[in-house]
Structures are given as structure tokens and as C-alpha cells.
Amino acid sequence: MFTIQQLVQPDTLEEAYDVLTRDISNTILGGCAFLRLGSKKIGTAIDLSKLNLNGIKEQGDFIEIGAMTTFRDLEISPVLKESFNGVLPQSVSHIIGVQFRNIVTVGATVYSKFGFSDLLTALLALDTDVELYKAGRMPLAEFLEKSPQRDILTRVFIKKNSCKAVYKDLRNSQSDFPVLNVAVSQKDDRWRVVVGARPLRAQISQQASEELSQGGASPAGIASAARLAAEELSFGSNIRGSAEYRKAMCKVLVERAVTEVLQCK
């Protein structure tokens, strides 16, 4: 269990960032489910509750999700259920239970770039930007490649468009971490294939995405894209599955996801 010496609830992001960067032991609090598993000695804990960072809004061309929005908010959001074939609600709906999803937050999850993350895989299949207080706004794919820097993730933006998307995961049992997860999206001729929990972090398979975008999703094209994703990406072993198993299952999940995208309205 972590300990907290002092606690602040800043009124502005500027103040929150100032406290965060004052001392290495100062820490932003999300839902604390992950922090709780460790034994960090937090000097000053920074609670973002007063900064209006919870909620899902449609703003112009984007759907905006605040950092303190919980997974349960994503899961039951009418806007998100209606958008992209409900891929975001689907991606979080198997994580532990309702009571847990009423706690864990979008900001902590995206900022922490967890390899096993179900949400990151689905977000990466969409046109997603992240906004950080200091580093500003950038595409999610760029943020995931960057080396970690102390900052506050404030919001996630998803471009509203006609993108169709499907999410697939493989779990040894309900509510366990995923062994592997896949999200596939299609917007007009552009396809995107994302594979996460490899157990490394979600990544776009450029080759599989290109194969589908250029060659179309014929049965042969789908099989070829699935093979390319399994060849291009790297897989590792942990207690949930071996690298070989993940690689084999990657082909299966990609094939299923692409086939289902074709059936999406």
C-alpha cells in the first residue's frame, strides 16, 4: 500500500503541475487502483477532482474525454455506444467488475501506457489525440513512442468520423488480464490493425494495415493481413501465455476482427 504525507486539491492545472514537478515523490492520483498495488511513499498527492476533468463531451469534430472519467462512464456512455460500433465501451467492459470500473480512470491508463491495456488498443485504432498540460496535444501513436516525462494527461480527443471498428480480446478467464487484444478499424479505404497485450504495449501493424488498405479485404487479403500482423509485431511470454501462443492467436483475432468490421454498419 502507498502512503501519502500531504494531499492537495489544486484549483488550476498550473498549480497541479507546479506541485508535481517540485519533488520526485509527488504524484497525481487517478482512481488509485494501480497505485494501491505498489508501496510508493508519496510526498504530496495531487487530486484532480476540482479541475472538471471528468466526463465525455461532443465538441465540434471531436469526442472529448476528461482524464478523470471512469471506465464505467465509458462503458455506459450513449455517445460512445453509438460511435465506432461501440468499440470503446466494449474494450473496457471485461475489466474486473462494475465496482472496479467505477473507480479506474482514463487519464491514468493512457498516461501509464500499460502493455496489457484494453483501452489503449481500441483508442489506437481510432483517430485519437491526447492532451498533456506541458507537452500539449499530439496523436496517441506519437505519445506512445515518446519517452516518459512528468506531465499531466488532461484529455483524450477522438475524431468523429464514419470509422467502423471492432475489438477482440483473449482472456484465460473472465476478469483476468488479457492474453492478447486486437482492434481493427476501417474508414473508407483506410484500414488500421492494432495488437496489444503482446504483452508489450499496443502497436499498429503497418504491414497488415497497408495490405488491407491497398488490396481490399477479400478472403485472401484478410488471411494475408493476419499473417503480416503476426510476422511484423513482436510477442513475448509471461504467466498468461507464451510468445508462440500469442503469435498464433494474433492471426486468429485479426482475421475475426477484420471479418466483423466488414459486417458493421
Partner: protein, 149 residues
């Protein structure tokens, strides 16, 4: 720090530590229905409602209930007893250690979902672990209680 909250319809002002967890605070204040079955936020035994939403009290820092409504099973005894009777009649209650958290989740589901299908019930209740039973009796009891097939 000091927090003010409404616990089971009663206004309280409590002195708490910054890193105190709600499960510990509630038990220390005599709400002994709160049980903990894990260290990793994944058993559901410690479930309470915060503003009506089922939440793990073992994972929620106590300062976060400041200004909020919290309900434990002590606060909804009639409703809980009505469901508990069905649960017992179906033989779905053995050692009973998981019952308070499970009942709080079932009652939250009743408030949130209208006529849920079996699949929705299972989805809502996943994450409530019980080491004694096989879940089938509980599922029968929940369906009977909700009056759904």
C-alpha cells in the same frame, strides 16, 4: 484531514488520514458489514455505494467521499433482507463472508438495469467472487428476486 459526508442518511464529520482507505474508515466507525477478500481490487467483497454507484471501498481513498452520500448494507436493511431470504432459499449462501458485497452489487444492479437478460446479470456481477458456492444458486436467486427468466 476532516471530511463531511452522509453515511446511510446520517451526516457525519470524521477525522481521517490522507492515505486512509474507505473500507478501513467505515469499519473503524463500526460499519462491520465491510469485508475484504483480497489485496488487489478484484473480489468485490468490500462494495459500498457512493452516490448510488457500487464502488470498491478497499480501493477508494476516504477523502474522496467528502461531500458525498455513502450507503452500506446497514443503511438498506429491509431491501437487503428481502433479497437475502431468496438467496438462502436457493441454497446460495454458505459461509456468508461474500454476502454483504454481493447483495450491495445485486441491489445496485436492480436500480440500474431494467429487466436484465441472464447475460447482462452475469456481466454486472462478474468481479464478485465467492469461494464457497458455484454461482448457479446465486444466479437463480437473482433471477427470482428480479422476476426475470
Amino acid at each position: 484531514m476532516q471530511i463531511e459526508a452522509i453515511i446511510n442518511n446520517k451526516k457525519v464529520a470524521w477525522e481521517i488520514e490522507n492515505d486512509e482507505l474507505l473500507a478501513d474508515t467505515l469499519r473503524a466507525k463500526g460499519l462491520l458489514s465491510i469485508r475484504q477478500g483480497c489485496d488487489t481490487s478484484c473480489c468485490g467483497l468490500c462494495t459500498v455505494w457512493i452516490e448510488g454507484k457500487p464502488t470498491l471501498s478497499c480501493t477508494t481513498l476516504s477523502f474522496r467521499i467528502n461531500g458525498k452520500n455513502v450507503t452500506t448494507i446497514e443503511g438498506i436493511q429491509e431491501e437487503a433482507a428481502a433479497f437475502a431470504q431468496v438467496l438462502v432459499a436457493e441454497g446460495a449462501d454458505q459461509c456468508g463472508f461474500c454476502s454483504p458485497g454481493f447483495i450491495m452489487t445485486v441491489l445496485a444492479m436492480k436500480n440500474e438495469l431494467k429487466n436484465p437478460a441472464e447475460e447482462e446479470i452475469i456481466h454486472y456481477l462478474t468481479g464478485n467472487l465467492c469461494r464457497c458456492t458455484g454461482y448457479m444458486g446465486q444466479l437463480r436467486a437473482v433471477k427470482k428476486y428480479l422476476g426475470v427468466e
